[in-house]
Symmetry: C2
Subunit: 417 residues, 2 copies
């Protein structure tokens, strides 16, 4: 297992545009500094290429089953009759079902070290809330999760899963914050939004010095923690004496994609050749949006980040791969996209195409992927079929960021099984 | 990863009483011979101590994530303040959620090798059906599962999970067999039983030479395949230079318990000292029944096996740990129990005691166990607390045979979360 995370900031082809604040008093930037953990804030702008993973976090990573396997997809190759060699990283072997534990454990560890007793956060699809519930439980912290009411009502099992780890889970908007109370006064059945849930999480942390807020994607330090995925993959590729020509993963905010590819982007900046493909949904093809400064949340509580964005108040149709439904891509990924390092493809929003590909993967390789990961698989299968046509023996590496065991209902609906 | 399975038959303190048939024509014994795979039938009575795992099965085990970790439960030890050292085997890191894949992959591999095109089986809790659906899909065989209607109707997600692997899943009794049609004529809403489902699976295989029947527990060859668990555990214990004083697992028919302990029982037969504890429910405390010949199924289609039994038509109240609800224990385990090698404890059938223990495990170690595995955990915690009282630094090893991600509703109900 790697002993350091890889920080791409000093190696980027251009320096990363900093967050800005349209407010004259810079209140948003100040709030960001106040709500982030000191360790994470330092990592957010660090120019150190390698940041040592504290022993305590390495031990937590081991407890969570790291390192995770890189698997040669021989059965899938045979099924597709492709000359390509396919490898997938098995992030689905996670106690909560996704790669989100990689940063949840780091943030919970730092919070404990910095003397906090409680964490607060928001969650949309529920993967981040589950991962932080797990991490908080392991290091002995309390957790309050504000969960977008529309999803809270629907995903019963994931809610009880978080509660099994003793998390407090509140439908957002809630009665527990001023923001929430105001919105409930207008509409007692308000279905909420990720932006509102962020506001409630921030308010919760702001009013109690024992509580700190945690974030699950987009920011630099989150991508930093996730580089454990790509660093392991690199070592595992070396062990089988192979190297990718193409790397593929799905992208919502960018944490699994970034974690998987950034250690390889470093090689490409130095002159090696890899195609990086971010797979998305036409419901939220943020990498095909505009590259400009935009807010990270609906309610404009965060500073503005320079990123590919669809607009922070863009309405996006519901899809099963809810984790891909975000208006903007992480600033690091956005810069790399702008500089021509990253390709993207968006699949139709009805999702039958990606679910059929997920089924091919499930019946050959034996693992039921998360709906989000079905997009990684679809990209990999499409590339493998291209190689079949051209006869190219390319090496295609893709990341399966989560399992679908809590999403079986989505499979039933989409596959008609 | 071990290269052979361990066959305890030649090492047993007494020779294993063979199956018998009260029918003069021995029709049941003949049927058993006809429906079992040739390789499994040979293994069933083999006197070879080590049976090589074919390369093809080893490759399938690797694909399924073997070897699986043995984890030192340091957080649980701290929580309990016990001087004991606790280790658990992580069989929950399984593509379908349980240890059942260990024999499912072996049987599917042999079936393919022997030229069959289809498998048939029954399932009760659904773990065995899921594992065989997975295995059949990977080796390229069709599968028909007869699933006790009472459970079929209730566990939607597990049903769709099997179907994602292309299994045909039929509520039993069904219209597809004579046995089923007869019972449906009497009662169109018949809820079925494991015995009826067995009959339908057997009939399905009997009428089609392309189809072979597979079994998920009780028989010697199933326990043989499961010894991969204990053999790995033994190697992993050696790597940390430790050795168990106590070994604990839950027991329904006996496949996970047997697989975990039999390689260590071999040491005890040679003079080492280990206490083996099978944890059960008061709803089905079969190891506290009578040691005698009894049928393995409700409908008396199987030969009689010498085993600890509650009687093959015993009514047993429903519990969440449905996999423990079986009237008899595997003949090998029963003999060892009779000879004094194995202790047992049965926990109250309302299950609140075991679910609370499962929660302690979840919040400290981070893994949500299957309801059945909650019984292993309860045994381990009780032993650890005993050590706390006596001050003994014992080594306690236990097996977590499955995860609870498809059983969250049971947790909600039992824990009131």
């Amino acid at each position: 297992m790697p002993t350091s995370w890889y920080n791409i900031l000093p190696d980027l082809p251009k320096s990363l545009p900093p967050p800005t604040d349209p407010d004259e008093g810079q209140s948003r930037l100040k709030r960001l500094e106040e709500v982030l953990l000191a360790h994470c804030l330092e990592q957010e702008g660090s120019e150190e290429r390698w940041i040592r993973i504290p022993d305590g976090i390495r031990e937590l990573y081991e407890q969570a089953g790291r390192p995770r396997p890189l698997i040669r997809a021989r059965r899938l190759e045979e099924k597709l009759k492709t000359p390509a060699r396919l490898y997938y990283k098995a992030e689905f072997y996670s106690p909560t079902g996704s790669h989100k534990v990689n940063t949840a454990l780091a943030q919970a560890y730092y919070a404990r070290k910095e003397g906090y007793e409680r964490l607060s956060t928001e969650t949309g699809a529920g993967q981040w809330g589950s991962a932080l519930a797990y991490a908080a439980s392991l290091v002995g912290l309390e957790l309050v999760v504000y969960w977008v009411r529309a999803v809270y009502k629907w995903k019963d099992e994931r809610r009880h899963f978080m509660k099994a780890f003793n998390a407090r889970v509140r439908a957002s908007p809630s009665k527990h914050t001023e923001v929430g109370r105001g919105l409930l006064k207008e509409d007692p059945e308000h279905l909420g939004s990720l932006g509102i849930a962020v506001s409630e999480g921030l308010e919760e942390a702001g009013k109690d010095p024992r509580t700190i807020y945690c974030l699950g994607s987009v920011l630099n330090h989150v991508l930093l923690h996730q580089t454990i995925i790509g660093l392991e993959t690199k070592l595992q590729m070396e062990m089988v004496d192979d190297y990718p020509d193409v790397m593929i993963s799905c992208l919502g905010g960018g944490s699994n994609f970034g974690g998987f590819v950034l250690p390889f982007v470093a090689d490409v900046i130095k002159g090696r050749k890899i195609r990086f493909i971010a797979t998305q949904s036409e419901a939220a093809p943020n990498l095909q949006g505009e590259y400009r400064y935009d807010f990270a949340d609906h309610a404009e509580l965060t500073p503005m980040l320079k990123m590919y964005t669809l607009g922070h108040r863009k309405k996006m149709q519901p899809i099963k791969a809810d984790g891909l439904r975000y208006h903007g891509a992480a600033p690091i990924i956005s810069l790399l996209r702008h500089e021509g390092y990253i390709d993207t493809i968006a699949y139709p929003a009805d999702e039958s195409y990606v679910f059929e590909k997920a089924r091919i993967f499930t019946t050959t390789e034996g693992f039921l992927p998360a709906p989000e990961s079905a997009y990684s698989i679809t990209g990999a299968i499409d590339e493998a079929l291209r190689c079949k046509e051209t006869g190219e023996e390319e090496v295609i590496a893709f990341n399966i960021s989560g399992h679908g065991l809590l999403d079986i209902e989505a499979y039933r609906e989409k596959l008609g099984i």
